[in-house]
Symmetry: C2
Subunit: 142 residues, 2 copies
DNA sequence: CTTGAATCATTCAAGCTAGAAATATGTCGG
DNA sequence: CCGACATATTTCTAGCTTGAATGATTCAAG
């Protein structure tokens, strides 16, 4: 025994592991749905968040990643003809991302796949509500 | 049914977002603690899990990643003189990972840093217990 | 013993991600 | 208008992660 770790610290570490495990499981589900449509996981995440025209920065915020990353992802979506980079109507610095018809159709299929067999469907509506409350509190107090 | 998304699906998507956000916050905390010791996040994760001698595969399981990844991470820990790859006592295929004195000392400092200011400290012990139960159920049913 | 399947670790290619620096544009006070 | 500062995007570098081979070793059945 070196410095006996406090039980509270150990419990929190285990909890962190559980959160991570669940996040990985969710990511795995996204990856599977994406692969079924010939997309990578991050491409699918981008497509999922594209509920309408938006800028690169807006997409980055929705995807919870850095803008430099969305450049990379959108590059490939654009090459696949799923999304277009148009000039922004009011801000010439920004790009106006718009789904092509093909992109919009693929997005619909993706949303359908994602809705089936989510990792969280193991929990009932009531439990999901409790979970949501706890997570919101944990995330809010950073 | 493709056009009108069910509220249940939307709620689950938001919940996934929350889980992801919390996982990212936890990862951010690890990264900060690691940086304070001159380590990367994944090096710190490896060090944290090295509570004793173990094989590469065992470390991979504890880190929740692929064995090929631990090869990469341990390579650098080894170059920094924090961990040694020794022959396994009973299985010549496996490596016996052992922390050096320096590695063990750094691990103690790391555990101390990690214990402070965890993202989950916003929740009380009772809430953490509830959260643990929900997460375990969600993870178990894959 | 010997063959075949399984397991451990590694290598490699591909993709993901963050962060710093660079470029272009917008905004605001003077 | 002009200059200073802020913002949107991109480029580049470095590190992270996976999954499919590969080679060495173990194990079990014949």
């Amino acid at each position: 025994m070196t410095t006996s770790p406090e039980p509270q610290a150990i419990a929190e570490r285990q909890l962190c592991g559980l959160v991570n495990g669940l996040a990985q499981r969710i990511a795995e589900h996204v990856r599977e749905c994406a692969a079924a449509l010939g997309l990578t996981a991050s491409q699918a995440t981008a497509l999922r968040e594209m509920s309408g025209p938006m800028t690169m920065r807006e997409l980055a915020e929705r995807m919870c990643c850095e803008p430099s990353n969305t450049t990379f992802v959108v590059d490939r979506l654009e090459k696949q003809g799923l999304v277009g980079r148009h000039p922004h109507p009011t801000d010439r610095r920004a790009k106006h991302l718009v789904l092509t018809a093909e992109g919009a159709a693929l997005r619909e299929r993706l949303l359908g796949l994602l809705a089936e067999g989510s990792a969280l469907s193991a929990l009932g509506p009531e439990e999901q509500h409790v979970l949501r409350g706890l997570l919101e509190r944990a995330v809010a107090r950073s």
